[in-house]
């Protein structure tokens, strides 16, 4: 018995070296297959391919706005704010409520209607922007409160912080259900904006998705990039990501910086909620759906990396859009399983880069 022992041991040592080769080969083969399949589809119907791509990119824009706040908080604090999705949904609901209460001609009271109240009220641009600003700022303040009241005294205990914010999700989810009901709500867009725009090769495409959502994502990305690369706050943030203890040892007021990060990150969640409530709709369950989206985005891109969040969002958006359009092989229609592709993407990225595409070990 003793003589046979060394053999499996040495085999175990050699195994990682041998395994690396097949993993890369398989990865390459899968990537080539996917690319080839997309090219075939693109050549077959180029307009349709552009349409799917643009749909994916606009969805990615929404995911990026939400996930960039998530990754900002994580990058600095190593805290996963599980309540990020709740801030998204609550931000949307607050904007909806403000628009209804402040600007609607509707009397309210018991009325049989589906979703939102009467479609009669025409809103102006201001009547969309004011709820947006108030809701986003309110979520920023709420984020700071969550940090100050619930997380600050658990500094450094990541698991405990994550569990506390999970409690926030559950409590907030039930409170929102009690207050806003289980029926989906839409934030109404200004009546003066066009419904769609005409794009060569594609035909009509949603105006709001294309300009406002995608534009907001690019603007948020640029502003965050400028803030992180060019401001003192960004300097501290970047230093904090690398060595938090050293940063505080240098006399920097870390709690203040953390509060600021929470404010901006939560504000972005609320902002995303208003965009999402206008582009899609608001309903119970979207808090966890957008938490999941944000998690997938930052896991793909790498926790704490802004560029990673952008790449992750684009990857997630495109995979969802292509999955919904192109998972048809002859007579077999697998588009209903496109959700699985999202997780396939996560598995594939983590297999090759365990910290995400742009992530570094904490």
């Amino acid at each position: 018995m003793a003589t046979s022992a060394p053999e499996p041991l040495s085999a175990g040592i050699e195994a990682p070296g041998r395994l690396r080769q097949p993993k890369q080969v398989i990865g390459g083969a899968v990537a080539a297959l996917v690319a080839g399949w997309l090219i075939v589809k693109a050549v077959g119907n180029f307009g349709g391919f552009l349409n799917a791509t643009l749909l994916g990119l606009t969805l990615a824009g929404l995911y990026f706005v939400v996930a960039s706040g998530f990754t900002l908080i994580f990058g600095l604090m190593r805290t996963i704010n599980m309540a990020h999705g709740s801030l998204y949904l609550l931000g949307g609901y607050i904007a909806f409520e403000l628009q209804e209460k402040l600007f609607s001609d509707n009397k309210g009271g018991f009325e049989l209607s589906i979703g939102q109240s009467s479609g009669e009220t025409q809103y102006s641009t201001i009547e969309w922007l004011v709820p947006l600003l108030i809701a986003a700022l309110a979520m920023g303040v709420l984020g700071v409160l969550i940090y100050q009241l619930l997380l600050r005294w658990n500094q450094g205990q990541e698991l405990r912080q994550a569990l506390i914010t999970i409690a926030v999700i559950i409590i907030a989810g039930d409170q929102m259900l009690a207050h806003f009901g289980g029926v989906a709500k839409d934030i109404k867009l200004p009546a003066s904006w066009p419904t769609s725009v005409d794009i060569p090769l594609i035909g009509s495409f949603g105006f709001f998705r294309l300009t406002i959502v995608l534009g907001s994502a690019i603007l948020v990305g640029l502003l965050l990039w400028w803030m992180i690369k060019r401001t003192r706050f960004g300097l501290i943030t970047r230093a904090g990501v690398d060595d938090r203890d050293m940063v505080s040892a240098l006399g920097i007021n870390i709690p203040l910086v953390f509060a600021a990060a929470f404010f901006i990150g939560s504000l972005l969640a609320g902002f995303g909620g208003v965009l999402g409530g206008s582009m899609l709709s608001l309903q119970p369950g979207q808090d966890s759906a957008f938490l999941l989206n944000s998690l997938v985005v930052v896991i793909i891109g790498g926790m704490g990396s802004l560029g990673g969040a952008a790449v992750g969002a684009v990857a997630l958006g495109l995979v969802q859009a292509y999955g919904a359009s192109y998972l048809v092989f002859g007579g077999t229609d697998l588009t209903n399983y496109s959700i699985l592709l999202t997780f396939g993407l996560v598995v594939a990225v983590l297999a090759v880069r365990p910290y995400g595409l742009f992530g570094r070990p904490a």
Partner: protein, 460 residues
């Protein structure tokens, strides 16, 4: 390490609060001073949550008709002093589901096993209906009368002896509309888009059987999940080389779908879309009516119908003015018909429903006529499934600033669930691929009766 936390979180979120019901029920319905206990089950969350008060209103009206007083203007607040055939009636609870079968069965258990309901009226939607029909087999001494759930399997496949459906199912609501598409709209090739669950697949299945029986071809079937918020990728899948699209998207999703369809494809060409009953539901028309004017729809109500029976029905509903305005909504009409059938059966037995078998037999032989079923007489087949009329309609602009309504074009009299043999207990359930597109032999082929209610042609 980092991945563990999200996994844990999502696990917890996914499993968020549900509670178990238990405990023994008491068998009521015996002596004459004991109240008959009735439970109401509908959905107040999710894609169909907006129809909750409409269903509660329809359910309450037969009780109010028999002397009960509404507690408030909101139907789900309940009624007081209900009596049928001298027996007091107690509504033990207004149950609320979220269109999922799990929650529906949990609520049914609560109402039946904990609150002691003898009779359950509900649920609202397809998958729930199949689940409740199966649950009915567990409770043979209780009585289950379907609310508005329209999946075919609930009666055709499950066949619970104590589960009754006094309205036609999703496929029956499509009877005749495929022929209309071929003959009047000139469709040869069509695509189908619908929610990925039993009711929408039943509804689309009826269209497919009817359309293909008349020589049409269904080239693509697209199934976004129920409660989807972003239909754009699914709309992108609709082929260009078709004559029209049949939509079986329901509830909240329909509003997003129509808006996003217009965003991507431009204004709806009326001759290129046929909708199921959700499109012309008065509650939905208030929201998206202008966009779908001219579109063809089908279903078992006719909002423009006139005549004494319809007037009497709407008059009964008028205790709830909002509900009366939506009288042709299947959610009001079906819950009304269900409760009306229950009340009539209790009356026929002089308030004594202690002999459950006799009560079930009475229900199985029940016919609804006149103001009890103003849009077409209802009788049940051997699976306790309704046989009744179906209507082909067109969405038309409303008069005097009112939301759009419908103009009825044709009637298909007394449609049966089995489509003359196209659907049987042995054929596959309607799903993503079934029924096949082939030449079925339908009893009503070539027999659509033209209807014009405006000229007073109500012809009951």
């Amino acid at each position: 390490m980092i991945l563990l936390v999200p996994a844990l979180a999502l696990f917890i979120v996914a499993c968020g609060g549900d509670d178990d019901g238990g405990g023994g029920g008491d068998d009521g319905g015996g002596s004459s001073d004991e109240p008959i206990k009735i439970g109401f089950l509908s959905t107040c969350e999710g894609a169909f949550g907006a129809f909750y008060e409409a269903t509660a209103g329809g359910f309450n009206v037969p009780l109010i008709q028999r002397g009960a007083e509404p507690v408030s203007d909101t139907p789900s607040d309940g009624v007081e002093g209900a009596e049928i055939a001298g027996r007091p009636v107690e509504v033990v609870g207004y149950g609320c589901s979220d269109e999922t079968p799990e929650v529906a069965v949990n609520e049914a258990r609560r109402l039946v096993e904990q609150e002691g309901a003898d009779i359950l009226v509900g649920p609202l939607s397809g998958d729930e209906g199949i689940a409740i029909a199966n649950y009915a087999k567990e409770q043979p001494d209780k009585t289950f009368v379907n609310g508005a759930a329209g999946a075919q399997d609930a009666t055709l496949k499950v066949q619970a002896p104590n589960f009754f459906r006094f309205h036609t199912d999703g496929a029956q609501w499509s009877a005749g509309v495929g022929e209309y598409a071929v003959e009047e709209l000139g469709w040869k090739r069509a695509a189908v888009i619908g929610d990925d669950y039993s009711f929408a697949q039943t509804s689309a299945g009826g269209f497919i059987a009817d359309f293909c029986a008349n020589g049409g071809e269904v080239v693509k079937r697209i199934w976004p999940s129920l409660g989807e918020t972003d239909y754009s990728s699914f709309i992108a899948q609709i082929p260009d080389n078709i004559d029209g699209i049949y939509t079986a998207i329901g509830g909240e999703g329909l509003i997003s779908f129509i808006n996003q369809y217009i965003e991507q494809k431009g204004p709806i060409e009326p001759d290129e879309m046929i909708g199921n009953l959700f499109v012309d539901d008065p509650i939905v028309l208030k929201e998206i009516g202008e966009e779908v004017v001219g579109v063809t729809v089908s279903g078992n109500t006719a909002a423009d119908a006139t005549g004494p029976d319809v007037e009497e029905y709407l008059d009964r509903l008028s205790v709830y003015p909002e509900v009366a305005e939506a009288g042709a909504s299947v959610f009001v009409y079906h819950y009304y018909g269900a409760m009306e059938a229950v009340a009539k059966a209790i009356e026929q037995l002089d308030g004594d429903i202690s002999d459950v078998e006799k009560f079930h037999e009475t229900l199985a032989n029940m016919e609804l006529t006149g103001p009890e079923a103003p849009y077409g007489d209802v009788r049940l087949d051997e699976n306790r499934q309704a046989i009744s009329d179906n209507y082909i309609k067109q969405v038309v602009p409303g008069e005097g600033g009112k939301p759009p309504t419908v103009k009825t074009i044709a009637r298909v009299p007394q449609v049966d669930q089995q489509f003359g043999g196209a659907f049987t207990p042995d054929t596959p359930s309607p799903d993503r691929k079934n029924p096949e597109c082939k030449d079925y032999d339908l009893p009503w082929e070539g027999k659509l009766e033209p209807v014009d209610f405006e000229s007073g042609e109500s012809g009951e």
